[in-house]
């Protein structure tokens, strides 16, 4: 039987705003399947986003949804989770939202290891505002504000998250659609701050400027550059040149923030 996405979508809120060929919709379907697999209750689950095309996702989802300010999703979500630790809190957003203006909130959420899942849709560009370069735009690429090629080096989101203290870090692509839900489900089940980066595409503002002839070509590129971590173990550095690792990249057990704060409450009550 076909999977019933409608069960988790808000009636009357579709069609979505995304362009034909945009990867964000593929990611949303993956998220829905993951939520279904984890059996998350709608009333007890908050989906929080910043601003951008990717950040429009919560509006379509039938949960407690919070579309905040550009880059601030992690900070708003931290307030929700701290105040009601029993809620499941999922953050979603674009690469610009999460790693430029929201970079500070992102690394501190990682550092606290607060039990939330952050889904970053990395299309290497600021889509919503018409294709300016983001901290994840490859060096040399064309954006509306890099007409001569991008001079900036790009972030590796996964390394950033691991370095900042996240305890579950995974990467997938919009091409490998059936893997997305598995990665997100594992992230949701992980106790601590989990980051799932999904490489997707923005044909409208990135593809057309960077000589991709079609969405299919953009998807094929994702297929070609992705190497599962297991397979990478057997590959030489030369073979891995220009490739991107996918799968669960990092997993660790560390004290979780709301749990640690529960101990603060116990100590404070004892100190009375």
């Amino acid at each position: 039987m076909a999977f019933d996405y409608d069960k988790y979508l808000r009636p009357g809120k579709l069609p979505h705003i995304w362009c034909p060929g945009c990867g964000h919709g593929i990611v949303m379907k993956g998220l829905i399947r993951a939520i279904d697999a984890c059996g998350l209750e709608k009333n007890n689950t908050a989906i929080v986003s910043g601003i951008g095309c990717a950040s429009r996702l919560p509006g379509y989802m039938d949960f407690c949804t919070l579309h905040t300010a550009h880059g601030r999703a992690a900070a708003f979500a931290t307030g929700v989770k701290m105040a009601k630790p029993e809620m499941n809190v999922i953050l979603v957003g674009g690469d610009g939202d999460g790693t430029a203006i929201g970079g500070n909130h992102f690394i501190h959420a990682c550092r606290r290891n607060i039990d939330m899942t952050y889904l970053i849709m990395n299309n290497n560009i600021y889509g919503m505002t018409g294709g300016q370069f983001s901290p994840c735009t490859p060096t040399g690429a064309k954006a509306s504000t890099t007409p001569y090629g991008n001079p900036d080096p790009a972030f590796d989101i996964a390394k950033l998250a691991i370095g900042a203290g996240a305890t579950f870090v995974a990467r997938g692509t919009a091409y490998h659609a059936t893997q997305i839900d598995k990665l997100i489900a594992e992230a949701i089940q992980h106790k601590g701050f989990s980051v799932v980066e999904i490489l997707d595409d923005c044909p409208t503002t990135y593809g057309r400027r960077n000589k991709f002839k079609s969405v299919i070509e953009m998807m094929n590129r994702l297929k070609e550059i992705a190497v599962p971590v297991k397979a990478a173990e057997k590959m030489s550095p030369e073979q891995l040149e220009g490739k991107i690792l996918t799968g669960v990249l990092y997993k660790a057990e560390k004290p979780e923030y709301t749990g640690e704060y529960a101990k603060v409450i116990e100590r404070a009550k004892g100190a009375k």
């Binding site: 908050a46 407690c64 601030r72 931290t78």
Partner: protein, 377 residues
């Protein structure tokens, strides 16, 4: 039973006022001269099962309290000058999404880092106009430690009642001075909680005006699910660009405060019955003003004090009425004329308004005000 009496600092009193009002969540970032509020909250909140979090910056602190408020908690943040500038983005978010929250901003010299330990009253315009767009503003300006406690309780009440951010803005002198405070018993001061929805979950709309200008607010994690966005929104919380809806919603948000000025505006009139020269002052400056008025009276001058306790909304109609009966206004303030300009606007030229401005980190002393009273009487 004898009431609990203490010798306490203003910032500490503000924190205890917040706890009295039922605050259960604090998100902040340290900054002089407001940090004691955070310190007291970090010690006291967990004893009550509440939560304290020190965020990575003031933008994050403001965001965190809005997130927490959406789960139904009463929430507080505290800051000063540069921190207030950073909070503005999300203060606007709380205005348009109509999420109750309280911000204590201790006024120090500015702009920028300015004078971190010097008193000032130069954030009163930032309180109203700091965030972009049209929005309501409620700002309270207490003048004593006792009043800082009580006005913080009132700030929570107004935030909950009108679903909007409320600022409490003591100047550094009021925040840092120590005075006797008599703690109200539980139940002695009114404590207001936000109205919760009673409709069936599938009928709930977070901005449903059939319940008036301040619609009930549900909590995340309850049986109600809803959407919150900083985009202009419709009754159901979803974005819209429909001109008529946007216009009506913007007007309603501002009307929540404008139509209720009599409930929100609070002031004290001292020796005003026959006053010919009226000093309009607030915060620590009003304490100097009271002294000056007393001295003037001893010298046979009919001086009075109109003390602002609510700064926004401003007591416009009261000052207009007074302006028809008096010779002159004096407006001492620790800035370069922010309150003075507003008073001038209220009195419509009926009487001259003489400002006394200080931005050197020193308080305005009674002699300065008395000299001006004698000059303009």
């Amino acid at each position: 039973m004898a009431k609990k009496v203490a010798f306490m600092q203003g910032n500490e009193a503000a924190a205890h006022g917040a706890l009295y009002a039922g605050c259960k969540f604090f998100g902040g970032y340290p900054i002089t001269p407001s940090t004691e509020v955070a310190e007291v909250m970090s010690a006291e909140l967990p004893k009550l099962g509440g939560k304290f979090i020190q965020m990575e910056d003031e933008i994050g602190a403001m965001a965190a309290i809005i997130g927490a408020s959406l789960t139904g908690a009463k929430v507080l943040t505290s800051t000063s000058g540069p921190g207030l500038s950073l909070k503005q983005e999300n203060i606007g978010y709380a205005c348009i999404t109509e999420v109750p929250c309280v911000i204590i901003n201790v006024m120090r010299g500015g702009p920028s880092t300015g004078m971190p330990t010097g008193p000032s009253q130069s954030d009163v315009m930032c309180a109203k106009w700091g965030t972009h767009g049209d929005h309501p503003a409620i700002t309270l300006v207490p003048a004593s430690v006792q009043e800082l406690f009580e006005e913080t309780v009132r700030a929570f009440n107004l935030a909950e009642k009108y679903r909007t951010p409320v600022m409490v803005m003591p100047d550094e002198i009021v925040a840092h001075m120590r005075e006797r405070i008599v703690f109200p018993e539980p139940g002695e001061l009114e404590v207001i909680d936000r109205t919760k929805p009673t409709v069936a979950p599938e009928q709930y709309k977070p901005y449903d005006t059939q319940f008036g200008d301040v619609p009930p607010l549900a909590a995340f994690g309850s049986e109600y699910r809803f959407h919150v966005t900083g985009l202009n929104k419709m009754a159901d919380g979803f974005p819209t660009t429909k001109a008529a809806v946007v216009q009506a919603e913007e007007e309603r948000q501002v009307r929540k405060v404008e139509a209720n000025v009599d409930d929100i505006v609070k002031f004290e009139e001292y020796m005003m019955d026959d006053a010919e020269v009226v000093v309009v002052a607030f915060g620590s400056t009003s304490r100097s003003a009271r002294f000056a008025v007393n001295e003037a009276r001893k010298q046979g001058i009919k001086a009075g004090l109109f003390r602002l306790i609510t700064f926004w909304p401003f007591p416009e109609k009261q000052l207009l009425a007074i302006s028809k009966k008096v010779k002159a206004f004096i407006t001492p303030e620790m800035n370069l004329g922010m309150c003075t300009g507003v008073v001038k606007g209220c009195v419509e030229g009926n009487a001259p308004v003489h400002g006394i401005f200080r931005v050197d980190g020193e308080p305005i002393n009674p002699t300065q005000i008395l000299d001006m009273i004698k000059e303009v009487k």
